[in-house]
C-alpha cells in the first residue's frame, strides 16, 4: 500500500484532466468579456445551458449559441455556457446556472421538467427554454405557466411544409426536369425522436408535399437517437433502396447528418434541418430552418431592456422565426414560385398545417 498516496493523487489528476477538457469544450469557465470600456456597464448576466449535442452540433444548440454570442457582444455580459453531457445532469446544470446568473437559457424539449423544477426553486431568476414550455414533472404533457419562464416555441411545421413543397413540386415535375428521381414517387423523413419539435417538422413536410403532389407517398422512420450517425445512415439507406425514396428529410441533428450522407452516396436528394446544411454535401437541395438564434437573442434583448415576458411571441414565418435555407442548383426554377405561394398562404392564415403526422 506504500504507493497509494501517489496513486490516488495521479488518478485524481487524471480525472480532473478529463473533466477540465470537457469543460473546456464548453469553455464554461473562460470569460471573454470583450471591450470592457467603462462607458458601457456590463449587462445582466445570462448562462446558456445546451442539450447533449453541444455548441458545435450544427443544429439547434449551435444556433442557440449563435444568438447568445450576438447578445453577449451587444450587451457586454460575461460568457457562461454549460454543455450538458448527460440527461441526468439537466437539473444540476440548470441549478448551477441559476445560482450564478440573472437569466438561464435552456436548450431543448428534453429539459422541460428539469426547467420547471429549477425555475420554481429560483423564483427571482429569469429562464427561457428553447423548444418547449416548462412542464410539470408529474404530467409532462401539460405546460406549467410560470411567470419567470419564457417558453420559446416555433412553428416547425411551417418550415417542414416549405421543405415538403420543394420535394413535392420536384416529384411532380418528373424525371425530365429532376434527373435523380427513382420513379416510385416516394419521399421520406428520418426523425430523431417522436418529440413535438421533430414531429411538427415531419407533419408539415408530409402535409404540404401531398398538397403539391397528391399521389406522393411519404415514408417516415425514427432513429431514437440524435448522435449516432451510422444509425440514421442505415435508416436512410433503407428508405432509398427499399422504398425508393427520392428525398430524405433529416430531422435528427447529428445522427441525421448520416441520412444526408446516405442520400449523397445513393445519388438521391436530401433536405437539411434547423440550420442551412448545404455545406454538408451536394445532395442537400435545401434546409428547413428554425431561427433559434433569433429567438434566443430576442429574449435576452427583452431581459436587458427590462421587458422580459413569460409569453414571448411564437416564432414562425411572419417574424422570420422559421423558413427555408438556400436552394441548390438541382432545384428547378419552377419550384420557387410554388414556395412563394405557400409562404403567402401560411402568412395569411389560409393554410392550416397539422402538428401531427397523418
Amino acid at each position: 500500500m506504500r504507493r497509494s498516496g501517489k496513486l490516488s493523487l495521479l488518478v485524481s489528476l487524471f480525472v480532473l484532466c478529463g473533466v477540465l477538457l470537457t469543460a473546456c469544450g464548453g469553455g464554461s469557465t473562460t470569460g471573454t468579456t470583450s471591450g470592457g470600456s467603462s462607458s458601457t456597464p456590463a449587462g445582466k448576466t445570462v448562462t446558456l445551458v445546451t442539450d447533449i449535442g453541444g455548441i458545435n452540433d450544427q443544429s439547434f444548440n449551435q444556433s442557440a449559441y449563435t444568438g447568445y454570442q450576438k447578445a453577449m457582444s451587444q450587451y457586454n455580459f460575461k460568457r457562461s455556457v454549460i454543455e450538458t453531457q448527460s440527461e441526468s445532469d439537466y437539473v444540476s446544470n440548470l441549478t448551477r446556472a441559476a445560482q450564478s446568473s440573472d437569466m438561464v437559457v435552456g436548450v431543448g424539449f428534453l429539459m422541460a421538467s428539469a426547467m420547471d423544477q429549477v425555475a420554481r426553486a429560483y423564483p427571482t431568476k429569469y429562464f427561457a427554454l428553447v423548444d418547449s414550455c416548462p412542464t410539470d414533472p408529474k404530467d409532462t404533457n401539460k405546460c406549467d405557466n410560470l411567470s419567470n419562464v419564457a417558453p420559446l416555441s416555433y412553428k416547425e411545421q411551417q418550415a417542414g411544409c416549405l421543405a415538403g413543397v420543394v420535394a413535392g413540386k420536384m416529384e411532380s415535375l418528373g424525371k425530365a426536369r429532376v434527373s435523380k428521381l427513382q420513379g416510385n414517387n416516394t419521399i421520406s423523413a428520418v426523425g430523431g425522436m417522436e418529440i413535438p419539435a421533430v414531429v411538427h417538422y415531419i407533419a408539415g413536410y408530409q402535409y404540404c408535399a401531398r398538397q403539391v403532389d397528391p399521389s406522393v407517398s411519404v415514408k417516415i422512420n425514427y432513429s431514437n437517437n440524435f448522435q449516432d450517425t451510422a444509425k440514421c445512415q442505415d435508416i436512410a439507406n433503407n428508405q432509398i433502396t427499399q422504398s425508393k425514396s427520392d428525398f430524405v428529410f433529416q430531422v435528427a441533428g447529428g445522427c441525421g447528418v448520416g441520412a444526408l450522407q446516405a442520400a449523397q452516396a445513393k445519388g438521391v436528394y436530401s433536405i437539411g434541418v434547423d440550420s442551412d446544411q448545404a455545406h454538408v454535401n451536394s445532395s442537400v437541395v435545401t434546409s428547413a430552418v428554425k431561427r433559434v438564434d433569433t429567438s434566443v437573442y430576442d429574449i435576452i434583448k427583452a431581459l436587458q431592456g427590462g421587458k422580459f415576458t413569460a409569453k414571448p411571441p411564437v416564432f414562425d414565418l411572419s417574424n422570420d422565426g422559421v423558413g427555408l435555407g438556400s436552394f441548390s442548383s438541382a432545384v428547378p426554377a419552377e419550384v420557387q414560385p410554388v414556395v412563394n405561394e405557400y409562404v403567402k398562404k401560411i402568412k395569411d392564415g389560409s393554410l392550416n398545417i397539422p402538428e401531427t403526422v397523418q
Binding site: R3, K6, L7, L10, V11, F14, V15, C17, G18, V19, L20, L21, T22, A23, C24, G25, G26, I52, G53, G54, I55, N56, D57, Q58, Q62, E83, Q85, M193, E194, N221, Y222, S223, N224, N225, Q227, D228, T229, A230, K231, Q233, D234, I235, N237, N238, T241, Q242, G254, C255, V257, G258, L260, Q261, Q264, A265, H279, V280, N281
Partner: protein, 315 residues
C-alpha cells in the same frame, strides 16, 4: 401483422447487410476489449478510443489527402489513448474503471474542443469520396443472390474485421504468445515465475485494444459515415463492452454477440411499419441480449486476474 412484417423483413438482404455492418463496427472495439481483459487489464475506454480514432482519421486524411494515412492516424490516436490507460493502470496501479471513465470523458471533451477550432466553428464538411474507405464488391461472389449483398458487398474494412477475428482467435488459443497473454490474465505470479514479462504483455495488449478501437473509429468516420460528427460513436464502445462479456471474452463469442446486437439495431427501424412505437422498438437490441444471456450464454467468467494490478514481489 407484426409477425408478417417480421417474417418479410427477416428475409431481405438489406436487413442482414446492415446488421453485419453494425456487427463488424462493434466487433473491433469488442476484440480490443477481449485482448486487453485477457491480459488482465479492465478496459472500458473503447468508446473514447473509438471517438478519438474517428476524429483523428478524418483530420489526418484531410490534411494529408491520403486515406491510408488517415486510417493509420486513427489507429495511432486510439493507441496513444490506450497507452495512457496502460501507464495509469499498469505502472501506477490505479483503478482501471476510473481510468477508463476518465479517458471516455476526456476523448469526448477533446474532440468537442478541437473540432470547432479546426473548422472555424463551421462543423466539418463531408469527405471527398477519394478520402473514404470504399464499399468493395468481391467479384463474382457479390452476385450470389442474398448471400452476395450480405457478405460480399460490404465496406472494405468489413473484410479486414473478419480476418482480424480469425487471426485473434488463432493468436489467443493456438500460439505461444496467446498462452502467455492468457497466463498473465489468469495467474500473473505464475507467468512471472515462468519468465513472462507480465507488464510488457499487458502494455502490448492494452495498446492493441487502442489500435483496434481506433480502427473502429476510422471504419465509422472514414468508412460508413464519410464525415465526423460530435459524439458520433454514441455509446457503441459500451455496447462493444457488453458484447465482449456476453461473448465470454473470446473473439468468436464476441462476434456472435455483435451479430445479435447488430441485428437488433438493424431490425428496430425496419419494424416501425408494424405500428409498434419506435421507442419500444429501440429497446430491441437490449431485449435480444437479455434473452440470449439467459437462454444461451449462461454464466460468464472473467479472467481470474482481470482488473487486478500486478506488483512483482519485492526483491
Amino acid at each position: 401483422m407484426f409477425l408478417q412484417v417480421l417474417g418479410h423483413v427477416l428475409i431481405t438482404s438489406d436487413l442482414w447487410q446492415a446488421a453485419l455492418q453494425f456487427a463488424a463496427l462493434l466487433l473491433l472495439p469488442a476484440l480490443g476489449g477481449v485482448i486487453s481483459e485477457r491480459s488482465g487489464v479492465v478496459n472500458i475506454a473503447m468508446e473514447g478510443m473509438m471517438l478519438i480514432g474517428a476524429y483523428a482519421g478524418v483530420m489526418v486524411a484531410v490534411a494529408t489527402h491520403n486515406i491510408l494515412l488517415g486510417v493509420l492516424g486513427a489507429m495511432i490516436a486510439g493507441g496513444l489513448l490506450a497507452l495512457v490507460h496502460a501507464i495509469v493502470s499498469i505502472n501506477f496501479m490505479a483503478n482501471q474503471t476510473v481510468s477508463g471513465i476518465a479517458i471516455n470523458i476526456a476523448a469526448l471533451g477533446l474532440t468537442n474542443f478541437l473540432l470547432p477550432i479546426q473548422t472555424n466553428g463551421q462543423g466539418i464538411t463531408a469527405l471527398d469520396s477519394s478520402l473514404r474507405l470504399p464499399q468493395a464488391a468481391l467479384g463474382p461472389l457479390a452476385h450470389i443472390p442474398f448471400i452476395g449483398p450480405v457478405l460480399f458487398q460490404q465496406n472494405i474494412l468489413f473484410y479486414v474485421v473478419v480476418l482480424i477475428v480469425i487471426l485473434l482467435h488463432f493468436l489467443l488459443f493456438r500460439t505461444n504468445i496467446g498462452l502467455r497473454i492468457r497466463a498473465v490474465g489468469e495467474h500473473p505470479q505464475a507467468a512471472d515465475t515462468a519468465g513472462v514479462n507480465v507488464r510488457l504483455v499487458r502494455y502490448l495488449c492494452v495498446v492493441s485494444s487502442g489500435l483496434l478501437s481506433g480502427l473502429a473509429g476510422a471504419f465509422l468516420s472514414l468508412g460508413i459515415a464519410g464525415i465526423f460528427n460530435q459524439d458520433m460513436t454514441a455509446g457503441q464502445g459500451y455496447i462493444a463492452l457488453a458484447a465482449m462479456i456476453f461473448g465470454k471474452y473470446t473473439p468468436f463469442g464476441a462476434a456472435g454477440a455483435c451479430i445479435v446486437f447488430g441485428l437488433g439495431e438493424a431490425l428496430s427501424p425496419r419494424l416501425q411499419d408494424t405500428g409498434i412505437s419506435a421507442n419500444l422498438l429501440s429497446t430491441l437490441p437490449y431485449l435480444l441480449t437479455l434473452v440470449a444471456l439467459v437462454g444461451l450464454v449462461g454464466r460468464t467468467m472473467a479472467p481470474a486476474a482481470d482488473g487486478v494490478p500486478y506488483e512483482p514481489a519485492a526483491e
